[in-house]
Symmetry: C2
Subunit: 226 residues, 2 copies
DNA sequence: TTGATATCTTACTCGCCGGTCGGATTTGCA
DNA sequence: TGCAAATCCGACCGGCGAGTAAGATATCAA
């Protein structure tokens, strides 16, 4: 049983009387579902779980969504839309590549702090059908490529040290994605402070690509850390 | 049906004749299981899948493991053992904090590139029972704390810029964990080159904690990126 | 050779969950 | 008011997968 937060109450009440606002109800399902999915994972959440939380029964859910997968795909869509929107506004700016990437880091951390952003990162798209998986992964790949383009533009204009943009993008995205595993909305830490340290540390990593004493370091002894 | 790689053949052959080497067979189960779990996820892998891959039937598996969870816990144990061992050897060194962290990054990427390391990071411990989850998460938490200690020591000896070690550890670990999602052992990219860029970029981020022009930057306009 | 034991198989049980069927109840509109 | 459509429910189906029971077969030690 997921803990019942006060924030869910309005969604429950929405379903109290029939015939009202199908769109609002559909949205209510999504908001409730994404919370439970994040808490329990998609696979371990049954349609009954979602329905119960909404104070309805399972078949009622199938009035708003064809199946369980459609709910998940819709969640991904909403989440990736947020990221797309942010990327669009960053790309439109007239800034150096480094500044754009820094803006990306700041914006991305904020999106990941939200439910739908966290869902994009944490929910397992391996649960999807082949078609759904293709769709979702294509969107993720596109986001990755746009981040790489940001980095490349920074390398070109000299604001970012020469490096492999592909790996750099993985490092940036990975670092921020990790947030989805530990960040709790009710966290005592200020989100702005967290985002600030992310920007500082990661942007610094991009500018100082080759500190001589680090570039030449030898790695640890070749023990068999398989 | 998971693709049958040549590397699995020896494990299949091990079970060809009965009564031979229980320890080796147990290990063979683990090696086979971790591969399938990484490909298909733990939840979507049935005991029949594992058994089939080994050329035996499901009940035979229960001769070596009490249940499915025991296999997963054992995989976690082997993976975290690798990390513990590495941390131990790093902690024993007489180096600056930054150098120790750099060694950690290099060693960690190599471990994550292996099956059991990748398993620690990618397999969902939410599938475990309460007891198993407690155990696994305790080990993960301990690793996190030891990394923080490494960072703290670097801040103390001045090799790392002052920052929140907790967040810094999350950033480092997150960046490397991300590798588990895209790295394929048969990758064309040289692992050493990847590890090198990880070390360079992340270590640089730790040394240059406060570039003035970055510290003072204002974040993106406060749109509602929920 | 012969029992004792380990190993492995065939054939089940049982619970869970996505999805559906048919019907009941409401709502809004003519 | 009356009726068509929308909304929702109780009861069910079918499949999947973890785990087990009971027995067959090979191995090893004596």
């Amino acid at each position: 049983m997921p803990k019942q937060s006060a924030a869910l109450q309005p969604h429950r009440r929405l379903f109290a009387d029939r015939r009202r606002n199908p769109d609002a109800k559909r949205e209510a399902v999504l908001h409730t579902a994404v919370r439970i999915f994040l808490e329990r994972s998609y696979a371990r959440t049954s349609m009954d779980d979602v329905a119960t939380q909404l104070n309805i029964t399972k078949p009622a859910l199938y009035h708003y969504f064809r199946n369980k997968e459609e709910i998940l795909v819709e969640i991904y869509r909403l989440g990736t839309d947020l990221i797309d929107e942010m990327l669009g506004s960053i790309e439109a700016d007239e800034k150096t590549g480094l500044d754009k990437v820094a803006d990306f880091i700041a914006g991305y951390t904020r999106i990941i702090a939200g439910d739908f952003g966290r869902a994009v990162v944490r929910l397992d798209d391996g649960e999807l059908s082949k078609a759904g998986r293709r769709l979702v992964r294509a969107r993720k790949r596109e986001i990755d490529h746009r981040l790489r383009a940001l980095i490349d533009s920074g390398i070109e204009d000299g604001s970012i040290a020469s490096c492999d943009a592909k790996i750099a993008a993985f490092i940036l995205a990975g670092a921020i994605h990790g947030m989805a595993s530990w960040y709790k909305p009710a966290s005592p830490m200020d989100l702005a402070a967290i985002a600030g340290q992310y920007v500082r540390m990661l942007a610094a990593g991009l500018t100082a690509g080759d500190l001589p004493e680090l570039a030449g370091r030898q790695t640890i002894a070749p023990r068999r850390f398989e």
